[in-house]
Amino acid sequence: MWIDVAIKVGLAMVMMLIVINIAGIHSWVERKQSAVIQDRWGANRAGFTFRAPLLRWLNPVMRPIIYLGLLQPLADLMKLVAKENWSPVGGMKWLHASAPFFYLLFAFVGFSAIPFGDTLHVAGRDISLQVAHLNVGFVFIFAMAGLGVYGIVLSGVSSNNNYAFLGAVRAASQMISYEVTLGATVIGIVMVYGSLDLQEIVRGQGALLWGWLPKWGVFVQPLGCILFFTAALAETKRIPFDLPEGESEIIGYFTEYSGTKFGMFMLADFVETVMVAALTTTLFFGGWQFPYLHASGFVFPWGAQVAVGHYGVVAIQVISFLIKVVLFCWLLMTIRWTLPRFRYDQLMDLGWKRMLPVSLANIAVTGLVILLIEAL
Amino acid sequence: MPKLTIDGREVEVEQGTTLIEAARRLDIHIPHYCYHRGLSIAGNCRMCLVEVEGAPKMMIACHTQAADGMVVHTDNDKCREFRASILEFILVNHPLDCPVCDQAGECKLQDYYMEHGAAGSRLDEDKVKKRAKAKQIGPNIMLDTERCILCSRCVRFTDEITHTHELGITERADHSEITLADGAWLDNRYAGCVVDICPVGALTDRDFRFKCRVWYLTAVDSICTGCGRGCNIAIHVNRDRPHKAGGARVMRYKPRENPEVNQWWMCDEGRYTYKQIDHDRLTEATVEGRTATVEEALDATGAALRKAGDAVGVLVATTATNEELYLARALFAGALGGHAAYLAPPQGEADDLLILADKAPNTRGAQEILGEQAADPVAWVKEKGVKAVVVVGEAELTGLKAEVDHVAVIATHPGKATEQAHVVLPGSVHAEAEGSFTNLAGRVQRIRVAVPPIGGAVETWRLLMELGDRLGHPFDFAFEDDIFAALADQLAPFAGLSHESLGRRGAPLGSGTTQPAEVA
């Protein structure tokens, strides 16, 4: 019993480590990538020069680190932590302080349902590489995402600032609107793989279509994939759907936040980005599946076989999952520096009048196709 | 009664009225420097030249008497041309050092130049420099002879108003200058008035010099609290440049014209009492010597007064306003069934111009409202059997603490009263609250808020109302004028008066019930 608890705790730690690190690196990527994309130089200042004779040899090593701005996240962190813990006059102090906590908490909790590897056999135990094995998988994730709205609403209400309040209203209505599409698009996947359990869905994606094409969600549900990705992007409230915040122009729900509390909002935003990447990977891009990799090793469609040991297989799976997640994070960031922001009516129009009907049609078509295949 | 036409409008004036005064009846302002209604007519600045039809040349409006059938033009082309020429002449030797001149902003030379002159200089010669630029001629007065336009107002003031004859004009032509008489020192008790009447920056007040530019100041009508005369003043407040003069809020007093009280003058003694407004003020309440919030102090006093039942009393200094006196009376003598009396006002020197021996602003008001004077507070307390007493204002109270259970003092400055207090409540001075004073002649005049109560101080009338709340006799006055209305309702001499009807110049006691005579 205690060993089970320890294993679960260990898995949770691994997951946290992965998520927080990817999210933290985001803050660097966001600066440097945006700079390079926009023909700028970007963060290239944070760093230090060693004066002590014994440490001087480190200076040439520091140079590329400074040049690439790798210490910028550290500097950002120091700045955020060192700032005054301030709450607005006339606001509700407790709610104001708890809002970022709510937001970050629910952003993290969702990850417990994401599988980052297949079952690991070690010392006679079967460990499913997933923090919480829930047979309602993504419903749980959506529920947690839904609770994240409270962080936003509370931050808006407790700030005693009409701009923050309006930002919170925009954010909440945007999140609720796109949750509907998000849920509807996933139903296609559920119908294809016949389970709500994310681990089961990933396992289902290990099969091959026509003997050579991995049966990934993106291949069986291409429309669902695009809709899901778009709706999920809207859920993260990042450009081009960043109407709730719009730092420079329209003022958002965390206007009255500074220091660590603001840092928590920012971190939660990045965590949500990672969550979207992880969900997209899990539902549509095979999760931890690597093409043609089976429990015993590679079996290629042209007949060649490469045997890989169990630990090797698990390692390849976990790394494959991580690489996919990072690639999607990268794509999300690139989209941020590519597309302009939607207008609010366009956003609502897109969500309710275009994406929702299309996703409903997608369900109907998927059902028909499945019936047809079964009938044949 | 001559009837004349000024700028096309007819006006009928008394025999002997000058044109400048006749024009004033029609709200026509004729520019002038040397003319002052409180002084004799000199007629030397020539700024008030007007055209009188039929007269061979321009006439000075300040000295030409109105005659029947006169047709006067004050603002035609000829007048304007003459004014511009006079200004050019006056400015010939003026140093034009407005940047360093304290008069800048309230200088008639600047005003009229912008209005009537505004011409480029045609002067080829060097300006005639006077002997010294800035020179001290009295304890409070600086003289800059270069800026002087020799209107002689200050000379006439010392000759005619104070009869001290310190000043005179010496030398000839463009070397003429204002000079002190041999061995004299401009230190009479009204010396500050020469600064007020100087139309340019020749005479400046050493106390005000360089502290603040006059355009930063806001003027608030008020009453001088130096003595029982009740001179009308304007409190000049610096509201939005707090870095000036070490953070002082009130910059100066200026006398305000009121023919019934102080004409145009005020004494130096009163003029510099403004320093008391911010100096060494009580800014927080104390209970038994410990710092407390005003709420706590009020609670303590309220509890003590409650305990004393009707053995309570209030002693109000004659610096309190009519409103504060009325609240004290209504609460202690009225609602609580206790006793109320006023403290003897401090006495000092008097003279035959303005200064009175009674050095409190509202002795008459206290007489009218409370009636009873407690010449010796300790004896009064003993006689009345008072067990808990509230003192409003400053007083000599030695030994009071031993006689009663509780002494609460509503004071503005630490002094002999606060030494005897169990509870000290920080109250407001006259510049921090609305209200009214009744001067010794029985004239009720308003004071207005110039600055908010300093630090943690609270308006005295508000403190009295809070006490009323705690004693179960809440007053429902929202503002000071409500209190005055109640006062006017209850006390016959004040009947019919209100803050509104007092206006800028006040009204005598009893005038509210009689039809006012012809207002001139």
Binding site: M92, V136, V157 | -
Partner: protein
């Protein structure tokens, strides 16, 4: 043992949240207590092996419906409302009824005559069928008519709301 402890926690916490919810005069606080209440209810569902219901409870009630309540509350002036001393005549009657019902419940539980009715969905069935499937089977076979009626009612409500909000379509 652990299950009992968890149940005790969820039950007591849900009760406390419920009482707090109805007793707060600040609507915003009441809504947040309601949120806590929903989460604890979901916890009880989890203990009953009803994971799907638990997730739906959080997603639908807490994630959507309560957020809409919050919208309304936010658009009202919460501070102003909190100042109003709300005292209705019906409050006395309501608390009386609640008190009587509470007393009945206490008596029933104390006498030990309160036996849970075992439904069709046993833990074994859930393990073999899966959570969602069990719900779906119940919903689309046994209770099909009530389900369809409920959806019709919802449709009517939706149309009514749109008609009320948008007079000119």
């Amino acid at each position: 043992m652990a299950e009992h402890l968890f149940f005790l926690y969820f039950a007591v916490a849900a009760l406390i949240c419920g009482v707090a919810m109805v007793s707060r005069s600040n609507l915003l606080h009441a809504a947040l207590w309601m949120l806590a209440f929903f989460v604890h209810m979901a916890g009880i569902f989890l203990l009953l092996n009803a994971e799907f219901i638990a997730a739906l409870q959080v997603m639908v009630y807490a994630g959507a419906i309560l957020v809409l309540y919050l919208f309304v509350i936010m658009l009202l002036d919460v501070r102003e409302l909190a100042k109003v001393r709300q005292r209705h005549a019906s409050a006395t009657v309501a608390s009386l009824i609640a008190g009587v019902m509470g007393a009945i419940m206490v008596v029933v539980v104390a006498r030990g005559t309160f036996n849970p009715i075992h439904g069709a969905a046993t833990a074994a069935l859930l393990a073999s069928q899966g959570n969602v499937e069990s719900v779906a089977i119940a919903l689309f076979t046994t209770y099909l008519l009530p389900f369809e009626v409920a959806s019709l009612i919802l449709l009517v409500a939706m149309v009514g709301a749109i008609m009320l909000a948008k007079r000119r379509l």
